[in-house]
Chain length 408, copies 4
């Protein structure tokens, strides 16, 4: 009768770290459709960042090694052209590691949305996980519920798809040879890793050809979509036998647009899967589609900033319907507002990446100005941040973690 | 005791149509802060489009005359540098005109997000307003609650600001001289209109210099933000004495991104205003900010499509972190899915513009692929549209209104 | 081409006031399934309450005349046993009458939830409608979006059903002969009214037998459900040929539990209908069921009060699983809290009835204490009302409208 | 640099089971304000119910032993008259026990809302926890996200408060001496338990006087409020030095009104606390108040059933404004509807208790009929359950777990 006696925990899969996409990486485990299982993930850098008050680890991070992914996991019966249905049943930090971080990366090592505008120097915020909430000693005055999700999840590419990726990204780099940071990261053996026994020639081929994990692509990958969260159901196209799902880069929270990093964490993701035969054709899939979760945080009251495709915070240049420029203006407007409240530019930049900020594409047809909005949830702030007749009350929130040499 | 005897309706302002932005257009009315008032608006084209089953009126629309705005309305006490707080208290169609339309414009006359990809020919859908809902005989099988809003609302520019607009947009056109449709619409006297008595030289100056109303700019303008809806509160920067607010282009509904037009309507907007002295400096405003409405439609269940900045629906070209390209892919993925359900490409295109579709910018830091999502609310469909093992059920939904010559 | 020329407004039905339920009241109009139509409604008292600053009209209200209903409206093809599907497409105040009221009725004339506890004297608040919002000069510091709905809507009873009502309510009154206010209002010719030409004997029969309109019953009726609002779809059982739908008692807003009256208004309701043959049997209907609206106001942040079935605000008596007592405690806890913020007891009582307060039945199985909660939406208050270390800030909000003799 | 090295997990408190409320039960642990800590809880019955397919364990459950609470936990500095702020940071099942149950109790042993109407025989459903979701082999066709919460949480009573409870409940029992099940459970030494070393006389006093844990009371207690969930913040009155918080009866999910039991589970709850000095007076607290969580499941589409205070499913008797009767009618209407879909009465009864059903008190002032609504979330059903012209599709869902003798 003892209730624990007849309980069977869900199995946890804990091996299989790799950091490139390649069809020849063999599955380290195989699951059956319908089975519930868990996967442990290190943080995306492989534990290069510490819970401390300096950002030197961000400054010196080795990005050739990223992202550390768990997998591949083969699903019995999946074949190219099928749709792999993945239920993301839960995403949690490790009990023994109730913290994460958001980092601003140096212009020359990692970059980020405003790396060029801000000439970014390394900075970071450590976030403490308190159940469903995060707070930070580096960004006081805010507390928000996490929308936990994998920043990176995808199926393995076929050889043909991999070749396509490498070709098109190679052409982009060739067309922009001197960009800092580079416009794309091409395959490189340095730092490449597959944590399984492999014949030397296979390993060398994977390291030589394997696609880097930074961008999202047709298979999913590093899409950094906050709403692909615990409770969501995702439909992936299958390109190789077994589908070979890999996952990593877990986030405790993120805004729409992780522009300098989400709240990065190590932890456990719980899955179940099923297969829809021929789903790619049935659903006209060129990329994943998904159903969002009913348990995403609900903050209905918001303050919304607009941005258009004119560089109003820079040289005033008019762009042609460029939503990225428009997004940047909305974000810079929000940062300027947060600075009026007493946050530093670095704190504001980190907060917008970490908190459940929403960004909508408003209009993209009214030439030449795309219009993008960015919504700050009011409920995450300890103080009332709404516009008042008397202006905004400025608090002293200190500064986030910066380099030990004091350079910001 | 009779209740109607002691009632005073809110006043309605009904004159003041103009279709250019210029500081010299005098206010046609002045209101006091705190006063509730209504403004009547014609539809953006000035009644060029009819409630019928052909799209010839779309094909032949005269776009030099748009947008027909109501205003300017001066607010007592507003001065440059102030923040004009505008409560959008209600937005309704005229009782006598319970319908609106969504149009696909020809590549050569109006264009739209996919004008080039689709070599667009004129098409449209007429929407019937049934209280809070819209349905269309041209797009059967859907019904949704309207998120009524002004597509276009803004304060008048100062002479300096107007000059800036004209210069930067002129430079963009100069750099793209042969674009079809043009990358921006520059001032042109043809079609210009101010429905007030004006000295000839003032009128000529306004017509010659007045900024076109198509794009949103620093003052608001044609931002086409669906959440700037009835019940929202908007904070505008003030550039001229009185602020000189103008409004028009009312929409019954729209998705994030009105990529071929919202549900356009004529109707009435109800406002009240207040002024925050020096608000531009107090809130670091370069553009409007706003608080969304508590009465926007809530459809919590969604099907979400992803898009990255690779032209997967075209030549496969890799773009560098281009959110516009990414948005297009997400939309094309959704259109492909809707076509599996039986809608034509034109119906799908119209539906995505008209329904309360949400589009979020997912990631914009993972070079080279920006990632954008587009969410279809499930609750607007009469039938279950979720992916099924057996595929999607295709219905016969006919076709939207097309040209009388049958060309699509 | 002129857009208004090809517009046809929805028809408005404006006759047919009656204030009793009886199968012999003939329909004053007949509609077809699918037709969109509007119905004008006076306020429930028939304009007895004025827009002024005294509550004498509440004190002296003649309640034998209520509720003033519009109808009956017959739907072609509806027969007993069918289900009448009613789409409540919109509910709006008259343009010319942008105000409503909430009243506290005297213990001896109307009563209310706390009539006995408070020995209620007449009081009221006038609410000004500003687009989707209501504010009151009698209850400063709050503004909320209306969840407009009919307090009263139902189909006509069959002779058998009417007889059942009159019998069971008669027995209840007989068992509680001296209750003040009475436990139920039985048929009475005084004040009865049917605004149609009728043979004398039919009119006399209706007046003599007609059920009073105060309680909700199997046919719907005065259920005062705030979520039966514009945008909702309601399924009613049909008891007579044509269904004979009547409606009235329009509310601009109301909390769960209109315990001293909602925001009462006059206005227009827009409907369409359809019929499901044999729906009563198909859906096992003993009472109406409905689908709520996607456009109800969303205030996600709330402060929630608990109540149990012990009269903690009175003599401390223990009741047996009585949810009504529990509800009262939750409401009294909320009133005590609001009084700490500076509202008077009368203002608090009125506010809880008028605002979109939510009340949930928590537990009803843990003998002997039922547990009910009452949730105040934070977003309706101008000031932050959350508990603070330093206690609550008390403002001077004056008093609501009271009797001209100053008695409260 | 190794990230795990500088991690400190939150402490877990694992002792202190007790099953009565009494001021003399000493705290088994003391925490500081601001500290994050976890508490392990057995299920409310103390593991009497097993993961199997018969309900004999429900039939034979020993209810003198319930509820098994963890605590008391003293908070440094809390004194009578203070307000104890409790952040419920997380509530999760044990990893090793990913299941829970909902039980229907026998009329003679446990009862429940419909124990008398249904002459209840023991039945149950086992729910499997799959991340944030629950499914049941005993109730196929549904899946829903859990709104995890403690069914029971409260501060210790003072001697005076305890005496008040025992007196008023004793009087109720005295007035209803023959009720089956009894109207309240009075103190009884049989089954009483405090898992700490205590002097014999203290233990005897506690066992003799200790209040039973079934009802919620002024201190919180067994309120079974589903929205007092992970992420909520609760304000409790303090009656003894240290506040002495106890918690138990964890639920994975529950509807408004746990009328035959929630999804009961064993697991871990994470807390932090703070103290507001003199909060009882500052906030006029007679009972707890709370802020709900931003991560409660959001199912916006619902089917809503009405109920009035007439026993339409029984003898048709008219009650006087009795919300409990009204609630029962709404629930019975929902059960009748679910049975049309193919669920048995027992499955329907279990489902309404376990799923995130919402129940609102509609009207409680329209004599003699209180009106209560019950809302079924549509998104939890695998199939479309909406009313259709052709009626409802009946599936074969089998039956829940029943007694091994087959009696239902």
């Amino acid at each position: 009768m003892a209730t624990r006696a007849n309980s069977v925990p869900h199995p946890t899969l804990v091996e299989g770290i790799h950091n490139r996409w390649h069809p020849d990486i063999p599955p380290f485990a195989t699951v059956k459709p319908g089975e519930v299982f868990k996967v442990q993930c290190v943080d995306w850098t492989g534990a290069q960042i510490g819970n401390n008050d300096y950002s030197d680890d961000i400054k010196n991070v080795d990005l050739t090694k990223i992202h550390n992914l768990s997998g591949p996991i083969a699903v019995e019966g999946a074949e190219p052209g099928d749709c792999l249905v993945v239920d993301i049943l839960d995403v949690t930090p490790f009990d023994k590691m109730p913290w994460g971080y958001t980092g601003i990366f140096e212009l020359e090592n990692g970059g980020g949305l405003f790396a060029r505008e801000f000439k970014s120097k390394a900075a970071k915020a450590i976030w403490d996980f308190k159940g469903v909430y995060a707070t930070s000693r580096h960004i006081p005055g805010v507390r928000f519920a996490g929308v936990t999700h994998p920043g990176l999840i995808g199926t393995a590419p076929s050889p043909e798809l991999l070749a396509t990726w490498n070709q098109r990204e190679g052409e982009l780099v060739a067309a922009n040879p001197n960009a800092v940071p580079p416009v794309a990261l091409l395959p490189v053996s340095t730092g490449a890793y597959v944590g399984q026994d492999l014949p030397d020639d296979v390993r060398a081929k994977i390291y030589r050809e394997g696609a880097r994990t930074v961008p999202g692509r047709e298979h999913g990958g590093n899409c950094d979509i906050k709403n692909l969260s615990k409770g969501s159901r995702c439909y992936f196209p299958v390109f190789v036998k077994g589908a070979n799902l890999s996952v990593g880069d877990l986030h405790f929270s993120q805004g729409d647009i992780s522009f300098c990093g989400a709240i990065e964490m190590a932890g456990i993701i719980t899955f179940s899967t099923s297969i829809i035969k021929g789903g790619v054709e049935k659903f006209a899939m060129k990329q994943p589609i998904f159903l969002p979760s009913p348990v995403d945080p609900l903050y209905s009251a918001k303050l919304i900033f607009e941005g258009i495709s004119v560089d109003l915070h820079g040289d005033g240049k008019q762009y042609d319907m460029d939503a990225t420029v428009a997004y940047k203006q909305a974000a810079l407007n929000a940062i300027a507002y947060l600075m009026k409240l007493g946050y530093t530019r670095e704190q504001s930049y980190l907060l917008l990446s970490a908190a459940p900020v929403e960004s909508h594409v408003g209009a993209i047809v009214d030439s030449p100005n795309a219009c993008v909005t960015l919504a700050l949830p009011l409920g995450i702030f300890e103080h009332d941040i709404l516009p008042k007749d008397e202006g905004l009350t400025k608090h002293d929130y200190g500064q986030c973690a910066i380099r030990s040499d004091g350079v910001v």
